[in-house]
């Protein structure tokens, strides 16, 4: 672990550990290194924000930690599993079990109701009807949409859609939730409410949230903030402490 790594906190081990991770994109004959030897540790039940300008590699890093992209070099351990060793099917199963996603554009399935969107990851896991029937209404209530269960995404506002997306991400009680600029498409008031909701979810479900964001409100709410520029970590700040770097 380098000095750019956040330290482990509490009795639980880290949710994600990245060691000397590199990633280069190849476009025709041009190679663009996006991530250059990054070491990161994402703490359990923490609100961690990746901060950096456009093109700094935030989304690429989130994708690799979220196991939807693979590094060219280095090692990624998520939920105590070396994800580089998993094949595509095993990685899909791993994501379904351990990682939740919240997207900037919500990415709900438009043909499924709010209830069904939240239920879908549970169906993928083969959860029983009883378990689904118990879990989904609780999540709907937790995100304040108990009365919108039957609404299709098209019948919900942006904020409500993002609430459904948060509930879907939490459905299988994952170890880590990845959120790529979750408030970017929301007005400031709704964004603040969503942020508040996610903060509550971290405390309630003891799940780690990893964000990329430019939103100062998000940064203010974060436990850990990782500063990224040109594919390298330029600094790490933990709430109530000096910069780690």
């Amino acid at each position: 672990m380098t000095d750019q790594t956040t330290s482990q906190s509490g009795s639980q081990g880290p949710v994600a550990v990245l060691t000397q991770v590199e990633k280069t994109y190849h476009m025709d004959s041009i190679s663009v290194p996006v991530i250059k030897g990054v070491d990161i540790l994402v703490r359990h039940a923490c609100f961690t924000v990746l901060l950096g300008p456009s093109g700094s590699g935030k989304t690429t890093l989130l994708n690799m930690i979220g196991c939807i992209d693979r590094p060219d070099k280095g090692e990624i351990i998520v939920a105590d599993c070396k994800v580089g060793d998993l094949n595509d099917d095993a990685l899909s199963d791993f994501r379904a079990k351990n990682i939740g996603f919240i997207f900037q554009n919500f990415n709900l399935l438009p043909v499924l109701s709010a209830y069904e969107n939240i239920e879908y990851p549970l169906l993928l896991a083969g959860a029983s009807a009883k378990k689904r029937g118990d879990r989904v209404p609780k999540l709907l209530d937790a995100v304040g949409l108990g009365d919108k269960a039957k609404n299709l995404p098209g019948q919900l506002s942006g904020g409500q859609r993002q609430r459904v997306a948060i509930a879907r991400a939490l459905a299988r009680k994952p170890k880590l939730v990845i959120a790529d600029e979750p408030t970017a498409n929301l007005d400031s008031q709704t964004g603040a409410a969503i942020l508040n909701l996610m903060r509550r979810m971290v405390e309630r479900y003891q799940i780690s949230f990893l964000f990329s964001s430019h939103d100062p409100e998000v940064i203010k709410a974060a436990d850990d903030t990782i500063f990224l520029k040109d594919g390298t970590i330029r600094g790490i700040r933990r709430k109530g402490q000096e910069d780690a770097s």
Binding site: D69, D88, D89, D93, L109, V111, L124, A125
Partner: protein, 465 residues
């Protein structure tokens, strides 16, 4: 279950496109089934006609079919009555065989002495009652009925000829045949050009019967070689002319009583026949009946090698016609299948492009590549199933309407116009085959877009705009 529900909802999402694809498939399916119904009706009509006239099976001398036509002496079957008795007493065949009847075919010359005309003919001797029983066979429930065989109950010397025979033998007036053209007569030199005594003689030579239409005007003489090689003649009264469908047959065909035919060919020698016709209850009993006949015929084959031929072998035109329609059906199916293939493929390709982000999302939340493939293939299969079922319903409706309109058509080799029947209802094999075939094509067309969707890189899919 979730995959099916999701696939169905995705199809309903873009209703206009799904409906256009469904209609393309339904119209394709309807076209296939209607043509199949038409082709099936032709098959059944010809099948019925051949079985009604020549039965399902014929027992013949082994070489009669290839070498014996018109030579009953060399290829006749002796002991035919015992063979028929053995067939009718067999406990298995008894349940299958509706009619077992002998027939005698020969070649000869028919002449109308009164009109001074003659021509070569193919004569057939039948047991008239049996032929009438055979004409009642209607295993496919066709709407048309065959006319009764006029020889039943007619005099022993009665005969039925083809209308072509009647025309050539100048029997049209006597038989009151409509639309029967007569040859233009060469202008005869009038009496003034001849010396008086010669002209008088010439007028006396014109037979009185040639101008009249009494029973004498319907008599013909048939000449054939008998079993001893000598010519034999019999006089017949033509009671009716029946068109035979094919001109070549119509101009040579003469039907008469079997007893009279045997008298002509065999005289006082023991009579023989050239074929024993067996009509079965159902056409699918042919293999079983043939297998059962083999040991029976062995008992009679010591002096005369016998063979059993089915009606398909005896009527190659039927087989060729069915094959022709099967080929056209296959061609139409392939053509429509190709249209369905490209239509569904196009629809699914568009769906994959439109739903790229959704595919990325599903993969991100943990759906495997196989799950994506299943989803799109299920959508294709649903399109195929709905399109094919809609096509079946449309085909049944259109066939029902068409069958009620009283349209007619002329089958190859048939004389009377027949009701145009599109046989879709009840043709379970054709309906299921077409439905299953189209579903398979739809699944096949969805497979490649589904594969492409499953192979999408998750990150690229999520970035898709």
């Amino acid at each position: 279950m979730m995959t099916l529900s999701l696939a169905l909802r995705n199809l309903l999402r873009n209703r206009r496109r799904s409906l256009a694809t469904l209609l393309a498939m339904a119209i394709g399916s309807t076209s296939i089934l209607l043509f199949g119904g038409y082709s099936t009706n032709i098959n059944y009509t010809m099948h019925t006609e051949y079985v009604q006239t020549g039965g399902h099976l014929q027992i013949q001398h082994r070489d009669f079919y290839l070498y014996g036509s018109g030579n009953p002496t060399a290829y006749g079957i002796a002991d035919y009555a015992q063979i028929i008795a053995a067939i009718q007493s067999d406990e298995v065949l008894r349940g299958m065989v509706l009619v077992a009847t002998p027939t005698l075919q020969f070649g000869g010359i028919a002449g109308n002495y009164a009109a001074s005309v003659s021509r070569t003919i193919i004569g057939n001797g039948f047991v008239a009652e049996d032929i009438n029983r055979m004409r009642r066979w209607n295993d496919f429930n066709l709407r048309s009925a065959s006319p009764a065989f006029a020889l039943e109950g007619a005099a022993a010397d009665a005969a039925i000829v083809g209308t072509g025979v009647a025309r050539v033998l100048q029997l049209c007036d006597a038989l009151k045949i409509a639309r029967c053209p007569k040859p233009e007569k060469e202008p005869k030199p009038d009496g003034k050009a001849l010396p008086d005594d010669i002209a008088q003689l010439s007028l006396q030579e014109v037979p009185a019967a040639a101008a009249g239409a009494g029973s004498g005007a319907r008599r013909i003489e048939v000449l054939a070689g008998n079993s001893k090689g000598a010519p034999n003649v019999t006089s017949l009264e033509v009671i009716r002319a029946e068109e035979q469908g094919f001109k070549e047959l119509d101009e040579v065909y003469v039907m008469m009583h079997l007893a009279k035919t045997q008298q002509l060919i065999y005289g006082k020698s023991p009579p023989k026949v050239t074929s024993i016709i067996l009509q079965l209850r159902h056409s699918d009993q042919i293999p079983a009946a043939m297998a059962r006949l083999t040991p029976i015929l062995t008992r009679f084959s010591a002096t005369q090698p016998l063979a059993v031929l089915d009606f398909r072998t005896l009527n190659p035109f039927y087989v060729q016609t069915v094959q022709l329609f099967d080929t056209i059906f296959g061609f139409i199916f392939a053509l429509i299948g190709a249209i369905v293939l490209f239509t569904v493929s196009n629809t699914m390709n568009t769906a994959v492009v439109e739903r790229t982000v959704e595919i990325g999302t599903l993969r991100a939340v943990g759906l495997r590549r196989g799950g994506i493939r299943r989803l799109f293939v299920t959508e294709g299969a649903l399109l195929g199933l709905c399109g094919a079922v809609l096509g079946v319903v449309l085909a049944l409706l259109l066939a029902g309407v068409s069958n009620q309109m009283g349209l007619t058509w002329s089958a190859p080799g048939s004389v009377e116009p027949l009701p145009l029947t599109l046989r879709v209802w009840g043709e379970t094999g054709m309906i299921l085959g077409t439905t299953f075939g189209l579903i398979c094509i739809a699944v096949l067309s969805a497979w490649w877009p589904a594969y492409r969707a499953a192979q999408l890189n998750v990150v690229d899919a999520l970035r898709h705009v």
